[in-house]
């Protein structure tokens, strides 16, 4: 196994893979067309942590998540989830895609979307029982959307849509939560509701990884960061890795000095 891995790892042949890591990515390279979007990236997620994936637009943040989930096919590299290949561990992952990636005019209700999170349990033909609906309602309650269960999803605000997506992920009862820009374009109340849920997940021992844009909230929301701009730029606890030096490297001087000063940075 380890030999096979090493052969695959290219740039980082000696990196050890801790078997208990919820998500360990090695040598991940993805390209759309000619140019690599993600190049030879290693990432090791710590169990029970909340990690922000940070980087400029087009830096490959979402693509890295998608490659880890098998949604896009990498050119090279692999992802191990709790030490196992994706196929054997999909049931331990919950995924929240970007809100804008779906058509919210789709003819379905809020509760039906949350029930989609139970697909693994329901399979093709198993009937939906009252206890499934109870579970879905409990997930809606956790994100404060109980009253909207029977609404058509197109009638929701952006923040409400995002909460429904989070509720669907909760219904998956996973151990590792991967979220793609969960705070993009949501109202303050929703942001608070989402971060509360994510923090409660962490306190239950779950692991959270989120693509995140707002550098001002990194320190208060997350305990670990992963900086990427096609290549991995830095990885570690907020204190270790969320430094002006790393940010400058990652954003290539696109952040004004004043902006950086405003962040409560370490180092």
């Amino acid at each position: 196994m380890s030999l096979e891995l090493a052969a695959n790892m290219g740039a980082a042949p000696k990196a050890e893979i801790p078997a208990d890591s919820p998500l360990a990515i090695r040598g991940m390279t993805v390209s759309y067309g000619q140019k690599p979007v993600v190049f030879s990236v290693d990432m090791t997620v710590t169990e029970g942590s909340m990690t922000a994936i940070i980087g400029p637009n087009g830096a490959g943040k979402s693509t890295l998540l998608k490659a880890a989930l098998g949604i896009v096919q990498p050119l090279a590299g692999q992802a191990l989830v709790y030490g196992k290949p994706l196929k054997a561990s999909r049931h331990r992952i919950a995924y929240v895609p970007q809100r804008a990636s779906v058509d919210w005019d789709f003819p379905t209700r809020v509760i039906d979307v949350v029930l989609m999170g139970l697909y693994r349990e329901l399979g093709l033909l198993r009937r939906i029982h009252p206890h499934h609906i109870e579970k879905a309602r409990a997930c809606l309650e956790r994100v404060g959307m109980t009253d909207f269960a029977d609404r058509q999803i197109g009638q929701l605000s952006g923040g409400q849509q995002q909460r429904v997506f989070l509720a669907r992920a909760l219904a998956q009862e996973a151990d590792l939560y991967l979220l793609d820009e969960p705070f993009a374009g949501v109202d303050a109340a929703t942001e608070k509701a989402i971060i509360d849920v994510l923090k409660s997940l962490r306190s239950e021992g779950k692991t959270v990884v989120a693509v995140h844009h707002d550098l001002t909230t990194v320190r208060s929301y997350f305990d670990r960061v992963f900086l990427i701009n096609t290549r991995k730029m830095a990885e570690g606890t907020v204190d270790e890795a969320f430094t002006p030096e790393h940010l400058n490297q990652t954003y290539g001087g696109r952040l004004a000095t004043g902006q950086i000063d405003q962040l409560e940075l370490a180092g």
Binding site: L69, I71, I93, P97, A100, D103, F106, P107, Y119
Partner: protein, 308 residues
């Protein structure tokens, strides 16, 4: 109209029209939601050269070679669309439009150049079928429905449409959940481990099955109309997919029955001598239903687009 007249002359064409309309409308719901409605259009066009080539090779108009020919043509069209898109750097919609009109035209040329006069295969036929000729001469009245000898004389198109409709129903029943999931949120479905690409291809194949069976009986006009009009009108009636599918079946049946009756008797009521094409009228009725739904249906005003 009495049973002696209705059963042999109108029952089977009407039934075939209804079943073909429903077989196309059912997968049409998903094609429309996936913004792939044009694929139904494309399939119904590329079917023609496939069927003609199958006829030229085998010399008979039979279901199996026709299906194979249509499937082969569908395959060629998929390759062509991809090739045009990549080599010509042309957007997918245009590549699709280019492919199916070219293949349909090639089918027309093939038809004209080959000796198909001995069989019922010509350009008009391809466009609006021959619904009116699918009569059941062995029937003498309602009692014939229980008479095995008369039943053996049912037009073979009926059997094909029934098989296609059953295939469509089984597919949708079996794969309803993953289809809904991957239509609504493809990346989530993939993260769940659903093979969304294969499912998408399967959906197109099932739509092709319906298109070929319907094409045989009712021509491509109905196929195109039924893939799009009933589902699009149904979407305006409700905000739930299960109900949308039910409404689309209602509209498909309504289009087929009304269209058939109006085509047969409408001109007479208006004082004209001849009936008009049933297929053309069925497609027209489905378009009128869509127009009415767009004007009066309960969910025609939606704030569906993601709030920005």
């Amino acid at each position: 109209m009495s049973g002696e007249e209705f059963v042999p002359l109108s029952l089977t064409p009407m039934l075939i029209g209804v079943l073909a309309a429903v077989a196309c409308a059912l997968p049409g719901n998903f094609l429309v939601l996936r913004k792939q409605a044009l694929i139904g259009d494309a399939i119904s066009h590329v079917v023609l050269p496939g069927i003609v080539v199958a006829f030229l090779i085998t010399g008979v108009v039979a279901a199996a070679p026709m299906m194979l020919g249509a499937a082969g043509a569908a395959l060629v069209s998929v390759v062509m669309i991809e090739a045009i898109r990549r080599l010509g750097n042309i957007e997918p919609g245009a590549a699709m439009g280019l492919t199916f009109t070219t293949l349909f035209a090639a089918g027309v040329l093939l038809l004209e150049q080959s000796d198909t006069s001995s069989v019922h295969l010509d350009v008009e036929h391809a466009l609006y079928g021959n619904l009116e000729s699918l009569i059941w001469l062995d029937a003498i009245g309602w009692s014939s429905l229980l008479d095995p000898v008369a039943l053996a004389g049912l037009p073979p198109e009926l059997g094909r449409v029934v098989v296609a409709l059953l295939g469509v129903c089984v597919f949708l029943w079996l794969f309803w959940r993953p289809l809904v999931l991957s239509t609504f949120d493809e990346s989530f479905a993939q993260a769940m481990g659903i093979a969304t690409n294969r499912l998408g291809v399967a959906l197109v194949m099932v739509a092709a099955l319906a298109a070929v069976a319907a094409f045989d009986a009712v021509g491509s006009i109905i196929v195109i109309a039924m893939f799009i009009c009933p589902p699009a009108a149904a979407r305006l009636m409700t905000n739930r997919l299960e109900r949308q599918v039910a409404w689309s079946v209602v509209f498909a049946v309504l289009s087929a029955v009304l269209g058939y009756v109006i085509a047969g008797y409408g001109p007479l009521w208006l004082g004209f001598d001849n009936a008009v094409s049933a297929a053309g009228m069925i497609a027209t009725v489905s378009g009128i239903i869509l127009a009415l739904a767009a004007c009066f249906a309960p969910h025609r005003h939606r704030s569906g687009a993601p709030a920005v």
